[in-house]
C-alpha cells in the first residue's frame, strides 16, 4: 500500500517535534557548550575540551553546594517517605476524624506557589524555635515532598484489593507481617518512584530554599549566584552533570517500575 500524505498526521507530527525541540533544544545547547574550549558561547566551537569540568572539580564552593544539595535531597526524601507512606496507608485503609479534610489539603504544598510556602515557613519556623538554617531547608523540602509520596502511594493502595490484607490476617499474620510481606511488595515501586521524583524535585528547588537558607547554599542557588557574575561555562558543565544524573534516576525509576509489572 502506498502511503499518502495525510494532513492531520503531518500536523500532529510537526507539533510533537516542535514541542520536543522546544523542551530539549536549550538542554542540548547547554550540553554542547559545556565541552566548549572557549569562555564565550559561539558556534561553531573551536574544538572539544573538558576544561570546565576540570575547573568544576577545583571549585570548592560549587562542590560544597552540590554536597549540601544531595544532603538536603536525601534528607527531604527520607522525611517524605517516613511520613508519606504511613500517611497514605492511614488515608487508604483507616477511618479517622478529619480524613476528608486531610485528603483535600495534602496536595496544597505542591500546588501553592513556592514563594508562598517559603514566606509562610520563614515566618512560622522561628515561632517553633527552628532558626533559618539548613535544618529549616530540610524540613521545608520534607513538607512538600510528603505530598508527593503520599499521593503516589495512596493512588497505588487504592488499586490494591483490601481483601489481600484481610487474607493475610486470616492466615494468621499480625499487622506488621502483613505490611512487610503483602502490602510493601505491592506498593514498592510506587515508593521507589516517588522517592526518585522527590529527590530530583528537591535537587532543583529554589523558592522555598531561598527563604530558609542561611549561608550554606544549595546547588541551584549557588548556580544562580554564579550567573549573576555573568554566564560561566562552568555552569554549563555542572548543569550537564545534573541533567545526566536526573536522566539516570528517571531511567532507573522506569526500569524498576517495569519490573513490577512482569
Amino acid at each position: 500500500m502506498k502511503r499518502r500524505f495525510d494532513l492531520p498526521t503531518f500536523l500532529v507530527g510537526s507539533a510533537a517535534a516542535f514541542v520536543l525541540a522546544f523542551i530539549y533544544l536549550p538542554m542540548v545547547v547547554v550540553v554542547v557548550y559545556s565541552f566548549n574550549p572557549d569562555a564565550v558561547n559561539v558556534f561553531p566551537m573551536r574544538g572539544f575540551s573538558l576544561r570546565w569540568y576540570r575547573m568544576l572539580l577545583d571549585d570548592e564552593q560549587l562542590l560544597a553546594a552540590l554536597r549540601i544539595s544531595l544532603l538536603v535531597a536525601l534528607g527531604g526524601t527520607s522525611i517524605g517517605l517516613l511520613l508519606g507512606v504511613p500517611g497514605a496507608i492511614a488515608l487508604a485503609r483507616h477511618d479517622f476524624p478529619g480524613k476528608r479534610f486531610l485528603e483535600r489539603i495534602v496536595l496544597l504544598p505542591l500546588t501553592l506557589p513556592g514563594i508562598v510556602t517559603g514566606v509562610a515557613m520563614l515566618s512560622f519556623f522561628p515561632l517553633i524555635g527552628v532558626p533559618v538554617s539548613l535544618l529549616a531547608v530540610l524540613i521545608g523540602h520534607g513538607t512538600f515532598l510528603i505530598a508527593i509520596t503520599l499521593t503516589q502511594v495512596y493512588a497505588r493502595l487504592r488499586r490494591l484489593d483490601p481483601s489481600l490484607e484481610e487474607a493475610s490476617a486470616d492466615l494468621g499474620a499480625p499487622p506488621i507481617t502483613t505490611f512487610f510481606k503483602v502490602v510493601l511488595p505491592n506498593i514498592k515501586t510506587a515508593i521507589i518512584g516517588s522517592a526518585l521524583l522527590s529527590f530530583t524535585l528537591s535537587l532543583d528547588e529554589i523558592p522555598v530554599t531561598f527563604f530558609l537558607i542561611a549561608g550554606d547554599n544549595t546547588l541551584p542557588i549557588q548556580i544562580w549566584a554564579m550567573m549573576r557574575r555573568g554566564i560561566s561555562p562552568e555552569v554549563n558543565a555542572i548543569s550537564t552533570l545534573v541533567f545526566a544524573g536526573s536522566i539516570g534516576l528517571i531511567l532507573l525509576g522506569t526500569a524498576l517500575g517495569g519490573r513490577d509489572k512482569e
Binding site: 481483601s163 484481610e166 492466615l171 494468621g172
Partner: protein
C-alpha cells in the same frame, strides 16, 4: 455446644442494623449455608465469624472459646474470599505455604503439606505459577487450598463460585462438597443461589433483612417453608392469600367464593388471614369435563401453556382472580389452548399453610 455459636449477635453500621440479634449454633463437621437476597447481611455475618467485623453486641464462640473481640489472626478460622485474594507477587506454592509459615512449622513439613493439598485440588502442576497466570477456576482451587491446608476449625466461604461460569460452577459445587466430606471439616458457606445452597448443604439458614427466617435441612426448607418469604425465595411457588374457615376439625381457605381444603399443623380460628404455598409440580390441570371430587378442585381458564422440555408449564387464571402455575410431565395432557376451561387441583397435604 456447637463448634460455632452466635448469641444475640447484632451488627450496626451507623444507624442501620444490618444483622439483627442472630442466634445460631453450627455443628462440628456440618456444611451450613447462609442463603438470602443481596444485602440481607450474609457477608457481614460471615465476616464477624472470621473476625473482620466486630459485633455491635452479642457474643461469638469458636470451639467453646469466646472470640467476639479477637482479630482474625488470633482465630483458628480460614476464609475463601469471593475475589480469591491470592497474593499477586507470590507463586501458587508460596500462597499456599503462607499460613503454615505464620505458624512457624518446620520447612520440611510445610513443603509436604503444601504438596499434598495442591495434589488434592489438582493444582500440583501449577505450583510455580503466579496467580495471574491461572484461569478463574484454577485461582479458585488455589484459594481453597490456601485455606484448608491450615486445617482450620471452621472454613468460611463467601460466594466462592460467584465469578465462575455456570458449567464450571456446577463442577466446583460437586468438588467442594466432596472435599468437605473427605476432610470432615466444618464449612460455613454464603450464597444467593438457592440451587447451590440446596445441593451442597447439610443445613440452610435462609436470611432476610438481617434475620434468619428458617434454618433447616434442604428438603425441609423446600417442602416445609416456615414463612411466606422462604416459600417464595426458594424455588417457584403459588402463594394464595385468604381467610381460614373452620368446621370442627376441618379447615379450609376461603378464596373469593371458593373453599380450598387445607391441613394446617395446628388448629386455626375462622377469619384468620393466612397464605397457602403450593409448588407448581404439585398442581394438576384437567379439562373441565369430568367431575373430580377428591382434594382441591378450582375452576379457571388457561392463560398460557409453555413446553419447557421436561414439563408442560401451564398458567391458569382462577375464577377468583389468582394466577396458578402448574408444571406437569408431558404425558399428562397435550397442549392446552389459551381460554380452555380447566380445573386445577392438588393434594391438600402437599400445600403449606403460612402466616399471611
Amino acid at each position: 455446644m456447637g463448634i460455632v455459636e452466635l448469641r444475640k449477635v447484632v451488627k450496626r453500621f451507623g444507624d442501620v442494623e444490618v444483622v439483627k440479634s442472630l442466634d445460631l449454633s453450627i455443628e462440628k463437621g456440618e456444611f451450613l449455608t447462609f442463603l438470602g437476597p443481596s444485602g440481607c447481611g450474609k457477608t457481614t455475618t460471615l465476616r464477624m465469624i472470621g473476625g473482620f467485623e466486630m459485633p455491635t453486641s452479642g457474643e461469638i464462640y469458636l470451639d467453646g472459646r469466646e472470640v467476639s473481640a479477637l482479630p482474625p489472626y488470633k482465630r483458628d478460622v480460614n476464609t475463601v474470599f469471593q475475589s480469591y485474594a491470592l497474593f499477586p507477587h507470590m507463586s501458587v506454592r508460596q500462597n499456599v505455604a503462607y499460613g503454615l509459615e505464620q505458624k512457624r512449622l518446620p520447612k520440611a513439613e510445610i513443603e509436604r503439606k503444601v504438596t499434598e493439598v495442591l495434589a488434592m485440588v489438582r493444582m500440583d502442576t501449577f505450583a510455580a505459577r503466579k496467580p495471574r497466570e491461572l484461569s478463574g477456576g484454577q485461582q479458585q482451587r488455589v484459594a481453597v487450598a490456601r485455606a484448608i491446608v491450615n486445617g482450620p476449625t471452621v472454613l468460611l466461604l463467601d460466594e466462592p463460585l460467584g465469578a465462575l461460569d455456570l458449567k464450571l460452577r456446577k463442577e466446583m459445587q460437586f468438588e467442594l462438597k466432596s472435599l468437605q466430606r473427605k476432610l470432615g471439616m466444618t464449612f460455613v458457606y454464603v450464597t444467593h443461589d438457592q440451587e447451590e445452597a440446596l445441593t451442597m448443604s447439610d443445613r440452610v439458614a435462609v436470611m432476610n433483612g438481617g434475620r434468619i427466617e428458617q434454618i433447616d435441612a434442604p428438603v425441609a426448607i423446600y417442602n416445609r417453608p416456615k414463612t411466606r418469604f422462604v416459600a417464595d425465595f426458594i424455588g417457584e411457588t403459588n402463594l394464595l392469600a385468604g381467610e381460614v374457615h373452620r368446621e370442627g376439625s376441618a379447615h379450609a381457605l376461603s378464596l373469593g367464593g371458593a373453599r380450598i381444603p387445607i391441613e394446617p399443623d395446628a388448629v386455626l380460628e375462622s377469619g384468620r388471614g393466612i397464605s397457602l404455598s403450593v409448588r407448581p409440580e404439585m398442581v394438576t390441570v384437567r379439562k373441565a369435563e369430568g367431575h373430580e371430587s377428591e382434594g382441591v378442585v378450582l375452576p379457571g381458564t388457561v392463560e398460557e401453556t409453555v413446553f419447557v422440555g421436561s414439563v408442560w408449564k401451564t398458567v391458569v387464571r382462577l375464577k377468583s382472580g389468582e394466577r396458578v402455575v402448574a408444571t406437569e410431565p408431558p404425558a399428562t395432557h397435550g397442549e392446552l389452548e389459551q381460554g380452555t376451561s380447566v380445573v386445577v387441583g392438588w393434594n391438600p397435604k402437599s400445600a403449606v399453610v403460612l402466616e399471611a
